[in-house]
């Protein structure tokens, strides 16, 4: 067990990680202080100018708020649904095999592919949503085309895509709860609601926090359906931070400013990481 062998085994993976994770993190911060290089000339140092541009950039603020709403709207609902799904699928309910498949299927489908289908649901005039609301005499909405509904529409797609994935984690956790706890609770005469609230939920806490961290990361990087369904529109109503980075970096080719925008994402993800290390690990009682 020579230490040198240990290092050699690590080398390939760590070198690639350094090249595609650590170096880009450092380089992004560094590049955010430079203008975008043009032609063959090196980029001039501009200090905090990119950040000044950011502060004045309405689309940035819009994307930041959208992303915040996106996270606040999708995370609690998809976690709550995931928990309900897991409880159902873990019980002796009729058709639970079918249900498990139905809930989980969105997880394995490409987001870009299902986004195409969801566009149809939201299509004005003859889309599914219009056909259904038409039955109730309310119609004529352009769901993805109006600023008031577009963000909610893409959030629904995200919830639909994520809930089944999170369900799997809850299912795994539920199956690890020893049956003796239920027996003990039953002997004490605890009703079902009490058992779920006081025994099951606390035991699921570590899973909930793990799922929450994943959900936040996903809220930051899930933009495939934005690219296909709305392209950030209408009037930037569905622009999320990473989508704004993509626009600035690869549509307008302003890489200096895109680096500064990426720094914001890194700060957000860094806070999640620190939060997980410092706060969550201590608060949670692992079994």
């Amino acid at each position: 067990m020579k230490p040198l062998h240990g290092w050699l085994l690590l080398l390939p993976a760590v070198a690639l990680l350094a090249l595609f994770t650590h170096w880009p993190i450092v380089a992004t911060v560094w590049d955010s202080f430079f203008a975008t290089p043009k032609g063959g000339r090196p980029a001039p140092f501009v200090g905090l100018e990119n950040y000044a541009v950011m502060v004045a950039d309405e689309v940035f603020w819009k994307s930041l708020w959208n992303n915040l709403w996106f996270a606040l709207g999708t995370i609690p609902i998809s976690i709550a649904l995931a928990l309900a799904m897991a409880l159902w699928v873990n019980s002796a309910m009729r058709g639970r095999t079918w249900l498990r498949m139905a809930f989980f299927t969105p997880t394995i489908l490409p987001m870009i592919a299902v986004a195409n289908i969801w566009i149809f649901f939201y299509t004005p005039q003859y889309g599914l949503l219009e056909q259904i609301t038409g039955l109730f005499g309310v119609s004529g909405r352009n769901w993805l085309g109006s600023e008031s509904t577009a963000l909610a529409c893409v959030m629904v797609v995200a919830i639909w895509k994520e809930a089944g994935f999170f369900m799997i984690f809850y299912l795994a956790a539920l199956q690890q709860i020893p049956p003796s706890l239920a027996e003990a609770a039953a002997i004490e005469g605890a009703p079902r609601g009490y058992y779920l609230r006081r025994v099951v939920l606390p035991l699921l806490m570590p899973t909930t926090l793990f799922v929450m961290v994943n959900a936040v990361i996903n809220a930051v990087r899930m933009v495939d359906h934005i690219v296909v369904m709305t392209r950030g529109g209408p009037n930037n109503a569905t622009s999320l931070l990473l989508y704004h980075v993509y626009q600035v970096g690869f549509v307008f080719w302003d890489t200096g400013y895109a680096a500064a925008l990426t720094v914001v994402l890194l700060v957000v993800l860094g806070c999640v990481a620190i939060g997980q290390f410092v706060f969550l690990d201590r608060k949670v009682h692992y079994q």
Binding site: L9, H22, A92, I108, V114, N116, I119, R192, G249, L269
Partner: protein, 274 residues
Amino acid sequence: MRLYEPRGWALGLETAAAWLLGLLWILPLVYAVWTAFHPPEFSAKFVLGAPLTLENFRRAWEAAPFARYFLNSFMLVTMVLAAQFLLCTLAAYSFARYEFRGKEIVFLLVLVQLMIMPDVLIVENYRTMARLGVLDSIPAVGLPYFASAFGIFLLRQAFKTVPRELDEAARVEGAGPLTVLWRVYVPLAKPIYLAYGLVSVSHHWNNFLWPLIVTNSVTSRPVTVGLQVFSSGDQGIDWSVITAATLLTSAPLLLGFLLFQRQFVQSFMRAGIR
């Protein structure tokens, strides 16, 4: 849990709610199947007796070089999986069984990637690919994902459960570290490899933003990026062809999922536990 199953009217109510949610969840797929197998005039009209057809699939197949895209996706997924298995195995073995100074710090550095995935670092990674001169190639799509923190973590956990006696016995027989790894650790971690493999394959088959950025020709685009041509049609949207193309794109994973549903879900479960 069996003791605390819902009973009586609560059971009825919950079953109804679960089934309703299940129907809602599967609805997009049902719609896609309906539209893809029926003539275009039935794409938004749901008539029971509508004639079945495979014409939409033929038209979708001809509207884009899907054969090439499938080949690209297949090569991409295989390449990424092979590289991940190899690199993660070596690194995980080192973390699980070797002692050296700075190990904890390096491990923390690896875990950074769990939070900050290459998906977020697109600007800088694009620049790196340009410097390496590999833009618009299949390796460029896969490279940032070759070293996977998730894989290293998962395999490290698995390797740690291997009894040291097995390891030592093999060494007494004169096996070197790599032989021990290959003969003892890898076979014992087979279920983890399966789980991780399924997660990795579905993730990279479905990946979109990074391939969209880094590829721009037919010879390197995966199916997900190829599919995009259908959604950017200004000449009126043909839902039948779009849904057919959508089903084509998802078919390999969907078929695999339907055939191995139990293993699929269980492997995701196993891969999810930290």
